[in-house]
Amino acid sequence: MRVLHFVIAFALMGCQEPINNPHPEDLVGTRTLFSSFSERPKHLDPARAYSSNEIEFIGQIYEPPLQYSFLKRPYELEPLTLTAMPRLTLLDAQGRVLPSDAPATKVAQSVYELHLRDDIRYQPHPAFVPAMHQIDPRIVAGLDDFPERASRVVTAADYVHQIKRLADPRVSSPIFGLMREYIVGLGDLGDRLMARQKIGQPINLEAESLDGAVAVDARTVRITLRGRYPQFNYWLAMPFFAPIPPEVERFYARPGMIEKNLSLDWQPVGSGPFFLAENDPNRVMRLLRNPHYHADFYPGSPDLRLPLIDQAVYSLEKEDIPYWGKFLQGYYDSSGIASDTFDQAIRIAPDGTPELSAEMRERNLQLVTALRPSLWYVGFNQLDPVLGGSTVAARKLRQALSIALDWEEFISIFLNGRGIPAQDPIPPGIFGHREGEAGVNPVTHVWQSNHLQRRPLADAKKLLLEAGWPEGRHAQTGVPLVLYLDTMAGGADAKARLDWYRKQFAKLGVQLVVRATDYNRFQDKMLKGSAQIFEWGWNADYPDPENFLFLLYGPNRKAGLNGENAANYKNPEFDQLFVRMKDMENSPARQAVIDQMLALVQEDAPWAFAYIGKTYALRHGWMASRTPNLMANNTLKYTDLNPASRVAYQHTWNRPALWPLVVVLLGAMLIGVLALRAWQRRDQAKGRA
């Protein structure tokens, strides 16, 4: 048997490592994190990247002025590259300084002053060596062909440069539309640049001036906003406001660069704890420790200098089965739990809290749970003649459907309990959310013996009757009610989910037609406002109720106006309250306004509030335990692991099974014997003949 083992091992790999280790051999035993990505990031330019899979990388590479404190809850901002939090000065129309509690209507401008630390340095890069700008890009194959690299200190001008880039039509930043409303002069700059591009003139951002973003000196940036915008600090914690060195942009802009994928979109240059050493988004992305990273320590531990690991290797993994399989074999360090593998990993303890199954505990895994600051909902298009609008009948119909959609069942089937039914548009962890009885949506739920309970179907049927659709048929004509659900659901799990939707509506005798389309067509329909019912989700940009309630703000409608209010909900009372709430500080007064707003949307039911997902993640025993921070995007620097322990586990978990080989060999021998006998018989037959 041992000989056989040796033969296989030799034939397949010829080394001591388990033959199914998918990672390069020279990384075994190093302080390297092995993780995965499922979709190649499209943009790594910080002015452009907005998807979570892009932010996952550039969050480690770029450093905006602020960051979320790693351990504090509720989430709180702290300076990252600044010496202190930005200093805010409010000015009125005449340029006079106002007190910080001045009413929003009086504030004409908000001035933010940012003071930079002096030890922030960029990663090594050829663009910082003037001589490298002289090498013709057409004769190089990649960045490695530039022989020299250097670094330099981040200056205020770099921050200003990046803010200007938000207006650059060549970059097409997704937040330009929003920021031009606030940053003074940004819209004009964008229009100016657009006009230049149209007539084919070159664009030089360094020569353009922007009133709203000025480098006062090498260490001070002044940003001027129109009016008041308390949420701006949160934007300052996103890579959109990270520094970009102008010489790097010049370096990449030379002809011959973009053809070799040498651009900010593919080869980022930042000051963060890591830099992108290898970018092959078809296969692997590799982050290496930035040797010039500034002094940064784990909160409360001045001896733990960040980053704690040397390298992070992200492999492309599109399918769930290989991903989960490799995780169990010890080749990935942490894993989210796909619903389908849930039972294997998790048991619910008698007191209702999830814990690891015996098998997983034997493997020394750790379970991490957290509620995501995101929500799912089923929207009812308010422009729809049947169930939209503010008529009593339409509202009752929506309410009936909201009751019938049994999200408790959905959570148990599709999420295996990893979620809670939503009562309103504000998820837990965000200011304005109400726990327990105070948070119950009276339209769909009741509070019974200290427990949230969905209203019985009879209530929904009664509402349906009152809406003029007894038993799902029109009260006068008897025509059955047929509704349409638009979804961009695709993939293996979609059918089961769509079947579930149909079942929910059928409980009321209402027929549901599902129109599954691709993302593209779905967007198109939403923009035209021609969908009837749709499912959608929202991920918080920042932990403020404004970022959720604006999804229902009338002037933010999707149809025609291309806002994010996809249900096209419009209630003047709600809109008025929203404007008031938007600029308030977190306070009981703000909570009161929010309570009023929530009551309005619960009654109007423009959405069936679906659920708030819980994140369950598994980590191997060799990973240092960390509380997940779901707002921060630069968490890689806090990650830590024990490589020796990992190697030991990989060896015990990966031993190829040999018996199938024996079976195959026996089978081959059997065929051989049969063939021989057939051969002999034929020979004999011939001999006789």
Partner: protein, 383 residues
Amino acid sequence: MNLAWNFQPTVLISDVLLFLLLAAVGIYVWRTSYSENARATWRRVFASRMGRWAAWVMVFFISLGVLDSLHFRTAVETPAGQVQQYSGEVLSVLDALLTPLRMAGEKTYSAPFAKTLLVKESVTLADGSVVRLAPVIAHIHPLGTDKVGQDVLYLALKSVRTGLLIGTLTTLVMLPFACALGIVAGYFGGWVDDAIQYLYTTLNSIPGVLLIAAAVLVVDVQIDAHAEWFNNAAARADLRLLALCAILGLTGWTGLARLLRAETLKLRELDYIQAARAFGVSHARILARHVLPNVAHLVIITVVLDFSGLVLAEAVLSYVGAGVDPATPSFGNMINAARLELAREPVVWWPLATAFVFLFALVLAANLFADAVRAAFDPRGAR
């Protein structure tokens, strides 16, 4: 009022086409019964044990498909004095026969013949404590239930119709193109031949899956843009299925056309056709009376051979995302949904195993039947 007998027949387009096809086969059988030659050939098909077996299995599957193609809508209670209304849900005779399976939905997975669901649930007891237990289920499911608790046997039986339609209706689309173009190209030669050859070389040179995927996307856009064409979900799914058949047919006629062209090239030089031409018989007449009957065996062999390939193609196309409507029960959709279930623990093997067994039986029977047909019809095979 007895609701069970109060129904309105509903006819989907694919039903019409399927029955047309059956009628065509019927006519063929009726005509065959007068031709001693053809009867002898068909007797050869059924002479082999394998062929007979395969034929019986096919008959079983086809009758499932036929039962599933007789659609109706049941009446709903309507207040007296008003026009009788019918439910929007379209059912088939098969659905009606399988009512016990169809209506016995569970909440989620349960193993074959299991008495409880597969997954445990947190249940809050009266005293407020939470326990984890698997709920008891009310019905027996011989092949278990899937993720949303539908009976797997029912799903598999429903999938048969989709497979049959794809295997047969595609041929229906393909045949006119293949026959007309192939025979015309071979018979007339010259620029007609060049043009037709150009057409099929062009189509042939495009990788098949890409062409089909692109075409399916086009059709999807059209279907979405015209939601008003459909008054119920069944009609919509039906059109999507038909579109897929049409696309497969329009991209798949080249092989048969090439065969027919080559055969016609040979036939054209034969004495009796030369003679017919010399007597001034019209081209149309020659093609219909002399050429077509003499290439019929090629058509039959190809049709039967293509069937299994098409049924298998549906599964792959569903994986690529260019298959039938996700709501249509089909083997491709079943496999696609079930492949993730192998990673579960305990393994949910029954949906995948069921899809495997049914698809395997259907395709195997089709392949064996095709073999028997080829052996009987192909003059070289008869040796």
